[in-house]
């Protein structure tokens, strides 16, 4: 139902966007609000694209390696290390934000997309590690043993057995990370300013402007949500699996 209102509102010319007519269909379909939202948001949209692609790939890759070690190469203390890593998933990011910004300034990555990529990769580690660890736990140990007997090394097993078997795992983790990073706001709003801002910050700024043009705002909301919606529509099955995998089953 809210979706209906977004679409209807976004297609209306401004003079039809009034409080009483919220539920009514537009008398004429007007795409001008899209044009306006697009002009306003396009640069930020691209910022988000440049952010989300490397961040997703890197964090999935690192998570896969960690998950592989923590599920198939357990050593004394590996469970403790896993718990220590996992805790990072639950912390309120406010509690690391001040040092994080000081740190990014000191290495000249403050207000850069690369800085944001770094942040998302690091703070994505707990969840991607968890997801891959659970995923790899379902691959039978006997398979690894057999490969070891055949003389495969740590990396050989990873390259020739684990990666081919975990394509689904990669898709699930990638979708999860893609959605989370695309939708993230706190890091985006504190680490970047103006022309480096990802789309969610720009959308929020759009609604913060003096004259509230609801039709433009709804068009903007739709535009900002579009990539994750498309992922959801076309890869819904993996999306749901990611949700469940992200829910820390003990």
């Amino acid at each position: 139902m809210p979706i209906y209102v977004i679409i209807v509102t976004s297609l209306k010319p401004l003079d039809e966007v009034s409080l009483e007519q919220m539920w009514a269909l537009p008398t004429t379909i007007d795409f001008s609000s899209y044009a306006q939202a697009f002009t306003n948001l396009a640069p930020n949209f691209w910022n988000s694209v440049y952010l989300v692609i490397p961040a997703t790939l890197l964090s999935a890759l690192l998570g896969a390696m960690n998950g592989y070690v923590l599920s198939k190469w357990k050593f004394k203390g590996s469970n403790t290390i896993f718990t220590i890593i996992l805790f990072g998933m639950f912390i309120p990011y406010q509690s690391i934000l001040i040092p994080l910004i000081q740190f990014l300034r000191s290495i000249d990555l403050y207000n850069t997309i690369s800085g944001l990529v770094l942040v998302h990769v690091v703070y994505g580690l707990p969840i991607t590690t968890l997801m891959f660890r659970n995923f790899y736990a379902s691959i039978p140990d006997t398979m690894i043993e057999a490969a070891k007997i055949d003389g495969a090394s740590f990396l050989g097993i990873f390259r020739h057995i684990m990666i081919p078997l975990s394509i689904t795992g990669f898709v699930v983790v990638a979708i999860w990370q893609f959605t989370n990073i695309w939708n993230e706001f706190l890091f985006a709003v504190t680490i970047t300013t103006s022309d480096k801002q990802p789309i969610m910050v720009a959308l929020q700024n759009l609604s913060g402007s003096q004259i509230v043009q609801w039709n433009v705002q709804m068009a903007g909301a739709l535009l900002a949500a579009l990539p994750t919606l498309l992922v959801y529509i076309f890869l819904g099955k993996y999306f749901v699996r990611g949700l469940l995998a992200g829910s820390v089953k003990g």
Partner: protein, 312 residues
């Protein structure tokens, strides 16, 4: 003999074992610095005098914490967080479980329903906030219907706090405007608990329910006595996950209502952001952040501890 083999095996694996550990080390160090080191640094800042643009790390003791607990805004934040969390979790569980049970009745078009309810999960809290701000705008949307039956809701612009008791300088009761934010948050997150409960219901074998039916249990009793207890672990997970989301909530409220008049919808996340990055009160902001962390830790640490024990 067996022991010998094990020892032999261990020896042969040493090199690979070391490679494995070497692969883990970079991530582990990153987490140690970026999570634990930074938390320590935030804690240090929270005990300092850094309340201007210029960093001043001289020791201030608990001054910032004491200030916060006497601060009207922070007291309101704690009250709001409490009511928000309780309402939000209760609704997400009741709705999620209820809809899951309905869908589980072999309803026609099951996947369509599931997809519809899960769909908001793909959206960001910012989008949700922006959209619901429009939907719950006083005298529009839903309110249009309510107006027709003579109720005049003000939703998030309402500044009333339902009667409670006086706590310090604030009225300790449910702020009406919080309800609007809860509605938006529930709309967004119910799909998650629904998915969890659906997965849980799938895990309960039909034979078990059948057995209870044969024993003469009514359909209601089957759910109350058999299904509900078996869903307990899921309920615990949902509570933990929702609690940590709700204790750190920031973007939804920031996009939808901000602090609200008299801070009726303010939460620590918003206060921390504004006081630190808009007001440059870094030490105060750090203290808020540490209190948020402690609140979350109360829920998370026992949970992690338990699941770790379960692992071994």
């Amino acid at each position: 003999m067996e022991r010998e083999i094990q020892i032999k095996r261990k020896k042969r694996l040493t090199k690979d074992q070391w490679t494995a550990i070497a692969f883990l080390i970079p991530s582990f160090i990153l987490i140690l610095i970026f999570v634990y080191g930074f938390i320590g640094w935030t804690g240090y800042v929270s005990l300092s005098n850094w309340n201007t643009l210029v960093p001043d790390l001289s020791f201030a003791g608990l001054k910032n914490y004491i200030y916060l607990f006497h601060d009207f805004r922070f007291q309101a934040d704690l009250r709001n967080t409490l009511f928000f969390t309780v309402l939000f979790i209760a609704l997400v569980i009741v709705l999620g479980m209820g809809i899951a049970i309905l869908i589980d009745q072999k309803l026609k078009g099951e996947s369509i329903f599931r997809n519809i309810f899960l769909f908001p999960m793909a959206l960001s809290f910012i989008v949700t906030g922006v959209v619901w701000q429009w939907l719950l705008n006083p005298s529009t949307g839903f309110n249009h219907f309510l107006n027709m039956v003579g109720i005049e809701p003000k939703w998030y612009t309402d500044t009333n706090v339902l009667a409670g008791f006086q706590w310090g300088s604030i009225e300790f009761g449910l702020p009406v405007a919080i309800i609007a934010v809860v509605i938006a948050a529930v709309w967004q997150m119910t799909g998650f608990s629904l998915a969890m409960y659906l997965a849980g219901l799938r895990g309960i074998s039909d034979e078990l329910r059948e057995a209870a039916r044969i024993d003469g249990a009514s359909e209601f009793q089957v759910y109350r006595k058999v299904v509900l207890p078996m869903l307990m672990p899921i309920t615990v997970s949902v509570i933990i996950i929702m609690a940590h989301i709700s204790l750190k909530i920031f973007d939804l409220i920031y996009a939808m209502t901000g602090s609200g008049a008299n801070f009726v919808t303010d939460v620590p996340g918003v206060y921390m952001f504004e006081t630190t990055f808009r007001g440059n009160y870094y030490a105060n902001g750090a203290a808020i952040a540490i209190i948020m962390l402690l609140l979350v830790a109360i829920f998370i640490v026992p949970y992690l501890w338990n699941s770790r024990k379960g692992d071994q």
